[in-house]
């Protein structure tokens, strides 16, 4: 067992610390190491001997060197394993996940409306919420003594002396129709979502609520276009093909003919779900824009005609997402907002579906 190679390999095999391994490396491959000594013998050999011994000695040196390298990696791995074993953490402890925020259902539904109607070529128009009575009533064919004014429960602002205009909170989004027709040449296709106000407060009414107005002014527009538009919109909004509409003749001073629009529902688990026709729910008011309204906006009613509709956004949200009480919409209660709100990333798109 004096073979230096076997001695060295055995020692390498048994070595269990990096320091000892280094000692062995010095003892074997170091300047005065046993294997180094062996290679030095080559210098005193004849060419023939060297040709015979050279490869053998080099092979020994290589074997030892490899063995040291392999052992070194093994020892380092073991040391790392040992260290890691001491670094264990309790992975069941909670991590800090920042709370996600929410989009209010009213905003979400407004974005859904914008997306659907953009596909039908409607832009989104806006107007002031503090209106004058001309835009809110008179131009919409609701003169001062009209019984419809009483139906509106209007919030007024005190008129300063000499004020030409009586200011009020708009009772519907319809004044945006007027502003759009005054400022824009037909053809017109707009929706106008926004806040509206009526002096009314009970289980189903709040003094502030949201409406969306739709207006199309063009040539040759008929009640048939109105019907198609509302059907198409409601099918897209509820993402159901079994939406059934029922138009009922009704009255609005600013449309003629006028129709209220009911949408059919079915009862599922005690809740009304839009679709089918087990019963009817009123969702929209609509009609062909009154010739007087078109004329009040400086357009020729013989040339231009069209339709308008109005719809409660809060109500649309309730019907689609299942809230059964309107009042908490405006409470800012975080629990309600987290429950009924939407992720910021729930951007309504036509490709992904407008609902979330």
């Amino acid at each position: 067992m004096d073979d230096p190679k076997l001695v060295a390999l055995s020692e390498i095999e048994q070595c269990d610390t990096p320091a000892r391994l280094e000692e062995i490396r010095v003892q074997t491959l170091g300047k005065s190491g046993s294997i180094t000594a062996l290679t030095k013998t080559l210098g005193s050999m004849t060419d023939e001997e060297r040709r015979a011994q050279g490869p053998i000695i080099h092979a020994i040196k290589q074997t030892i060197s490899d063995a040291i390298g392999t052992r070194k990696v093994a020892l380092e791995d073991a040391a790392l394993d040992a260290r890691l074993a001491t670094e264990t953490l309790d992975m069941t402890l909670p991590a800090d996940v920042p709370a996600g925020g929410t989009i209010h259902p009213v905003s979400q539904v407004m974005d859904e409306l914008a997306e659907i109607f953009a596909d039908l070529g409607f832009a989104v128009a806006t107007g002031p919420e503090i209106e004058d009575d001309w835009h809110n009533f008179t131009a919409l064919n609701i003169p001062e003594s009209h019984p419809a004014r009483a139906m509106h429960d209007t919030f007024y602002f005190p008129a300063p002396d000499g004020a030409a205009r009586k200011m009020l909170l708009r009772t519907h989004t319809s004044p945006v129709q007027i502003r759009t027709m005054l400022n824009q040449k037909p053809p017109i296709r707009i929706i106008a979502p926004g806040r509206t106000y009526r002096s009314d407060s009970d289980a189903t009414h709040t003094p502030m609520f949201h409406q969306v107005e739709g207006l199309v002014i063009d040539k040759g527009i008929t009640l048939g276009h109105l019907k198609w538009t509302l059907e198409t919109f409601l099918k897209a909004f509820f993402e159901r093909d079994d939406i059934v509409l029922r138009l009922r003749p009704s009255y609005f001073p600013f449309t003629e003919p006028s129709a209220e629009v009911d949408v059919g529902f079915t009862m599922e688990k005690g809740k009304r779900v839009i679709g089918g026709s087990d019963g009817w729910m009123e969702v929209l008011g609509s009609g062909m824009v009154h010739p007087k309204v078109i004329a009040a906006c400086g357009l020729d009613p013989e040339e231009w005609q069209g339709f308008a509709f109005g719809c409660g956004i809060d109500r649309l949200a309730m019907l689609k997402y299942g809230m059964d009480d309107l009042r908490p919409f405006f409470d800012g209660d975080i629990r309600w907002l987290k429950h009924y709100g939407f992720s910021g990333l729930d951007v309504p798109t036509l490709s992904g579906g407008v609902g979330a």
Binding site: L120, G121, P249, G344
Partner: protein
Amino acid sequence: MKFTLGWLKEHLDTTASLEHVVETLTRIGLEVEGVEDAGATLAAFRVARVLTAAPHPQADKLQVLTVDAGDGPLQVVCGAPNARAGLVGVFGAPGAVVPSNAMVLKVASIRGVESNGMMCSTRELELGDDHDGIIELPADAPVGTPYPDYAGLNDPVFDVAITPNRQDCMGVRGIARDLAAAGLGTLKPLAGIYRQDNLDPVAGEGPGPDVRTDDADGCPAFFAQGVAGVTNGASPPWMARYLTAIGQKPISVLVDITNFLSVDLGRPLHVYDRATLRGGLVARKATAGETVVALNGKTYTLDATMTVIADDVAVHDIGGIMGGEESGVSADTTDIVIECAYFDPDHIARTGQKLQLTSDARQRFERGVDPAFLDEGLSIATRLVLDHCGGTASGVTRAGNPPLGRRAYAYGIDKAETLGGLAVPADRQRAIFESLGFGVDAVWNVTPPTWRRDIDGPADLVEEVIRIEGIDKVASVPLPRVPGVARPTATPEQKLERRVRRAAAARGLDEAVTWSFVSEAQAAPFGGGTWTLANPISEDLKVMRPSMLPGLLSAAQRNLASHADSVRLFEIGRRYLPGRDGASHERATVGIVLTGDRRPRGWREGRGVAFDAYDAKAEAIALLGVAGAPVDNLQVMGPESNGAADGAGEAWHPGQSGTLRLGPKTVLAAFGMLHPRVRKAFDLDLPVAAVELYLDAIPAKRANGFMRPAYAPPALQSVTRDFAFLVPADLAADALVRAVRGADKKAIVAARVFDVFTGQGVEDGMKSVAIEVVLQPGDKSFTDEELKAIRAAIVAAAEKQGATLRG
């Protein structure tokens, strides 16, 4: 508008079922809000006699009855104190459904005794509120008869919503006419309905009553007829039954006739007790301050725009709205004057609105009554009085003239299709018009009837055709579509708002929608409101918000009160400020309120941390960045004052708040901690950080196509150098950083504070501010000399701000 099926059939000869009538009414625009059919709901309840009554063996308060409901004796357990042998009442057999609680009656054992049904109280059958005992009917009530048959409840009651344009349908007659036009039967002749041969004016004896109109605008026509020697007793049963069915209490035949005709024909009338009048009656304008006690017992003070009916001494009627108490008829009335007038709808509407007084009469006159129906209306009233009260009629006085002008409209029959979307054959259109009482001549000049003042042009005529022919027949027609993919429609403002909203939600904020109006006190710290409602719904909802914060603060307070740990609310909406020419300036604004824990206590970081002003600043800058504002160029300045000289009522903490501005004037955002006084006013105990972000102040992004500039990263690595300066404690860090950045605008690409220190080693009144400066070489690396020069420039620039480099 309520009426019964039987009442309708007085005018309409029809075999249509109840369901068909209901469906047709809604289909033609007379929306049925409800139908009460007591006959159907109570059909299973029968008149029954209690044969015997004996105590219940197991219960003191119960009795065991034998009841005969027409099929022989049945054993029934009953708890009513008035149950006794001989009593005739109403019995529900097993299977009947009790209306009040929807309970299905069953054979049941009550305390060990079998009971085969129930003797009912009025409340259980929803016929009244009485629940003291079971119903007691007269002893001769026919046992076994279904109770609705006995009680005359077999006439279903409609409740129909009449839209404000339909003056004619404020009477059963008009509704019947519409149904006849819709094919549901034929309209009966009017005279027969009141059991008259004709409705010619009653030729009375002597002159007509002394009435006249001095107010041709408010009351263009005042017709009247007197009847002397009447007996004002109870109404005939048919009239009482109709009125009772629609919820009107029969009072006396004279009163009931006017109430009946108001509903029947939409023709309000008024009857005066002649004995209470002094002199003739005149329709005139009230004198300002004149008062009248109306039939509702309330006193109304009138003004000079209001039309009244008065005698020589006093006002007896708020014309067309409500009669006066003094001249109303009573049981002792013997001589009457019947008024059948035409009041101008606009006048009625204005007076009614001013007095805040509604009545059946106002509802009808306001819509407009048929101006051609005064004679007939008066004749029907007089005839009914003579029939049911006796007496002798006087002549008729006709003062003034009702506005009878009828206008014809040139109508094109294709209009039904070009506007209404439904092609209707000409003869069908003609038939519809004629059935509704419209005149149509050979060249399609269409004249609306006198009871349709709402018809004002061809569009109204189209509506008549469409609603009678069937709006459900209108086919859907797609809107023409622009070829290709839909074009983007959102405006820059709309896109901005959407981005900011979704970014805020992604940053962990919850979007609230709060009232646009707040209380005056809540508005005050935020500069007060410009727009204060004249008729607020409450003091809390009175002033249009001048700031987004009051509503959010209230919401935050409610959330904390319901034990929320952390409140991070935002809202995007409008602030309502004064604009030009008396209009509003409604500014799109984001409000953010942060209170409670920014970070809850936790195993990693220990104690929880509350929100501070820098959290508010971070939200402001993050959202301004999303909005496309040049955040690197923003200046931080002090908060905007609300203008109070002594600083009282300021919204913000004076030392922990600021504004972010582009230049000195353009304020993009305000942020910081709320003033403790304001917090207290909102009942908030915890510190509150808040932001207001003025979306409309953000400069619009310049549109220059989609192409980005070429990507050109610097060729050489940047160099970072740290500097620590001693500066006066009140020097704004931002001033120092700006000075440092400005020291070499080419080489210095970034500078930021990474440490601020006061305490040991820093003398009082000073602070140490450490700044990391990033230098970017251009074509060549910096030489040592260049680096030295930059360093010297930085130190020199800092020294100008009062800083000295720390050794």
